[in-house]
């Protein structure tokens, strides 16, 4: 049956909701698709639910097509499996925890690696049972510190999560590739502009990880891409480090007085005044800035970490956060911290005291540009003094490398494919070759073809289903409201009956019934409201095609409007049905 607007549970709002910062949030609420129940928690009203189900249908079809099997796990989960993998602690404040009436600990599942791993462990035992891919479309929970933008970053949201199980790495690679290809088809069908970017895999312990980002200026994720096709989440960008250089001919290190040089800029000036290089002037990129943080890992004592990087770059806190992993807190050294470490001279910290083997004992990690043979001006660990010509690999060695320096537009892509541009995106999907991390922690092994126990290779893959609704809306709206792609729209055709003539409503109803009969979803605006109100609502609600049955009917015409192009044409009422069916079937849309 088609739906009558007079009966549909919807009210369009004239005003933007007070908390709406982005267009999709504004329109989804104003057009009556969703409604806020609490911060980051939304109800799906009838129109919104239809969109959500259209998205779910596409996701389900593509997952089934790669042989993944649908299941549905609970959202209320016991603590123990998450303790076994340490995520109960690692998630910190990021998950909802609760106790039952007996005092047992539970969480609301943010993702289900543990539960799937355990279930497969209980049911399967041989390589013959594999490969296996399972998925669910299910409600998930995260206690986001800053829920925002409506359903883009919610605290209760719907995800498709899948998990693959293979006996070896080749199998995992095949499962990963199958998911990646399915995700491409999903996002192609959802009508996004998206990029696939390399993502961090360190914290999750896996080997390969990519994100699918909807390109959007309102996105929270920053990514880079190069003309030659390199693309990465900014957290995952690897610096194009220079090759190690010989240092036999370089001058010895020497300490100089550098008064009045509290900033990198003043230091560069002072350095050039005190001791210019033989080949060129010192620049900010020649200074080695050492920044110290206090790091607090869940369940551990806070400990300091020093980061050394070229003075022309800041530490990118998002990159640092990604590097440290979920649940690790950090903040720059405070006056108190400095007081507890008198060997660190604020403003003059140098590699001379840093590192696990040196006087401070503080772990010291440096930017990849600090290669062996690189030549630096840096702190001399005495007030008002810097050390010059300090050579990495000759005069100091760090405890390791860290990729946390800011990435800047124009930086070279690590694969040599040209200068990087920075853009923003909304994370819509994530594919992740987990390897054996979860299987190891929870003991998921199978007998392999040689009769030996093999730890199962797992992948984990997610699509933000409710978020996709927002991202599609974000990319498909204008100043008048939403403009859904046909496969996503809650109704394909919106029929507006205008005027008080009974023949109008009769004809509009007849067309609605005929379209419905032909399998086209129809919303019929049969309300007693002015044409202006109805037209404005039709544009805000955003069905792809609107049919106006009104004044023209006396002359034998209805008007067919295309929501996206704004084009309209009169169609003879007797041709309306075949015309509309042709439009719905994708015949090139109205030309005007």
């Amino acid at each position: 049956m088609f739906t009558r607007m007079s009966e549909l549970f919807v009210r369009t709002l004239r005003e933007d909701p007070a908390d709406a910062e982005v267009a999709s949030h504004r329109w989804l609420v104003r057009a009556g698709y969703i409604r806020r129940a609490a911060p980051g928690i939304y109800s799906w009203l009838p129109l919104g639910l239809r969109v959500l189900e259209n998205v779910e249908k596409i996701v389900r079809e593509e997952m089934n097509a790669i042989g993944a099997q649908e299941v549905r796990f609970p959202a209320l989960l016991p603590k123990e499996p998450y303790e076994a993998t340490n995520r109960w602690t690692e998630y910190g404040d990021g998950i909802f925890r609760l106790k039952d009436r007996k005092g047992a600990d539970y969480l609301l599942g943010p993702t289900h690696e543990e539960m799937f791993t355990l279930t497969v462990k209980e049911m399967y035992s041989s390589y013959k049972d594999l490969p296996l891919s399972l998925y669910q479309i299910q409600t998930k929970y995260r206690d986001e510190p800053r829920p925002r933008a409506g359903i883009i970053r919610g605290r209760e949201f719907i995800m498709k999560d899948s998990y693959s199980f293979d006996v070896d790495e080749e199998g995992l690679a095949a499962s990963y590739d199958a998911h990646r290809a399915a995700y491409r088809r999903i996002f192609d069908r959802l009508g996004f502009e998206y990029v696939i970017v390399k993502a961090m895999s360190g914290a999750m312990g896996g080997s390969r990880s990519e994100e699918f980002l909807a390109v959007s200026p309102i996105g929270e994720d920053t990514f880079v891409r190069s003309p030659g096709g390199y693309a990465a989440n900014v957290e995952a960008v690897e610096v194009l480090a220079p090759e190690p250089m010989p240092f036999d001919d370089l001058p010895p290190a020497h300490v100089e007085q550098t008064p009045d040089s509290p900033t990198i800029e003043t230091l560069v000036a002072a350095a050039n005044a005190a001791q210019p290089r033989e080949d060129r002037e010192w620049t900010a990129a020649d200074t080695l800035k050492n920044v110290v943080f206090m790091i607090k890992r869940p369940g551990e004592e806070a400990e300091p970490l020093a980061v050394g990087l070229p003075g022309d770059r800041e530490v990118d806190l998002k990159r640092l956060e990604a590097h440290l992993g979920e649940g690790v807190e950090f903040e720059p050294f405070t006056a108190e911290d400095f007081a507890a470490h008198p060997e660190l001279v604020k403003g003059y910290i140098g590699p001379g005291v840093l590192g696990e083997q040196n006087s401070s004992g503080i772990r010291y990690l440096t930017d990849p540009r600090v290669v062996s043979g690189s030549r630096w001006v840096t702190g001399a660990d005495r007030p008002g003094h810097h050390v010059f010509d300090l050579i990495a690999g000759r005069d100091f060695t760090a405890d390791g490398v860290i990729e946390v320096a800011e990435v800047r537009p124009g930086d070279p892509a690590p694969d040599g494919s040209g200068p990087l541009a920075l853009e923003r995106g909304i994370e819509m999907g994530h594919v992740f070759a987990l390897g054996t991390k979860y299987a190891e922690a929870l003991g998921l092994k199978v007998l392999d073809a040689n009769g030996k126990q093999a730890v199962v290779q797992m992948g984990s893959y997610g699509v933000g289903v409710s978020r996709a609704v927002a991202a599609i809306a974000e990319g498909n709206c204008d100043a008048r409201g939403l403009a859904w792609p046909p496969e996503i729209a809650p109704y394909r055709v919106h029929i507006v009956a205008t005027g008080k003539d009974a023949a109008v409503l009769e004809k509009a109803t007849e067309i609605a019934a005929a379209l419905d009969e032909a399998g086209v979803s129809v919303l019929l605006d049969d309300r007693k409201a002015s044409p202006g109100v109805k037209f404005a609502d039709a544009e805000m609600l955003g069905m792809p095609t609107t049919v106006v049955v009104g004044r023209g009917l006396a002359d034998g015409f209805v008007e067919v409007r295309d929501r996206r192009s704004g084009m309209a044409e009169n169609v003879a009422v007797d041709d309306a049905l075949p015309h509309l069916i042709a439009v719905v079937d994708g015949v090139p849309d109205i030309e005007g």
Copy 2:
């Protein structure tokens, strides 16, 4: 596509799960439909999810057919609306509560009256917007003290809940009747034997309430029914009380010593010895037993409540619980309680001290049989003494009536339709005319046709969707496993290929593909396993029709088996497809 058993995520178990008390729980777990994740919390594996979706589809179709509109509200809900209706407190330990990172209180929704009421209030304002019925199929939570029987009483479960909104009582009655009729169609299609019973409506504050119970010996609910068609939940049974009687000719009350009469039986003997009635002997039904409880309402001090009832009946604690309402705790008077109330003489408590106007001040409610003019032997509030010929309405008056005496088989139905039988059932649905309770508490009013504010009349209606899966399984299984009704089965046809002959698997696959093409869902057992294992699994999994492609193929036959009747017949392989399609289309099943 049809499903290959070699790829399906399923393992049948040889052993019953340790905690399985009922057949549906045993078979759903053993046949790999569901899997326990925590007490009362289950995962749906692929076969189980298909059954669940078949049930959801039926529920959805029937709800849409009465014009109810589907929405989806969150499960994680803010405290405030539930405080406004006092349910935050009333639910006691029965709900899951949690705090977010900012310390705000939330609950996991057990039912959504408050949220729907508020949403309609925010969107609608006129009688013209009504009637309205909304529904959702959604995950719900209750922290059951005793989760049991698998998914029959879970802590995370799936419900269809709907809410109707009308401007007046006539509208509510129509919405109620529409839901009631839809529920009949739903349960007819699900293939239950069910009864519709009167239910308690007191605690929820509404005017009319009925439950749909699947008749089952494992049910937790006891209901009564009479030959003449009366049916009620045992909590809702009303006693057929006698008419008030004249007492002018009755003897005055008098106290007698009744030594050695600690029980009703000994009291009756002592009474007949001391002072027989002029017309007949005293019986247990002539004694008035007074039982005192401590009642603890959420957020209030505990207070005593005395219940007077004929001595031949016990207080039915489930009826008392239902009478007191959700979240109220109670227990019989303890020695300590008696010590605090010296006017109550244990074993000899009588109406002389009970009642708000009497010395104890304890609220005193009596069974409906204690009508004016009824004549009793009861406690005299002195050790070893009873009072005889105490006449209700002449010698004492209670503070009110209470319906908590046990109901016994053979008791007369209150509508005079004959003696009651007691049976057990599983609550599958509940229809509830709420009236204005929630609309009043949350301020949901609309302008009526006269331009006056009218409080909206609401109804609330629920179907236990996940529970229905268990109830259907419970009614459709035998010693060998499950035996699904065709509309509910995960697959309509199960094809078993036996033997190592390649032609067998080829033919089985060909039939599977052809049935799939014809729109019939098929599970093909293509595993390398013995025929015995495959047959046993097919019977445990319970698809309505099994096709065995095996030894007979050489002679041009396949075997078609009906799971429920156990009947089997050989069908010429060339006729197999049309034959199976006829079976699926409901042609009278195999005769043997």
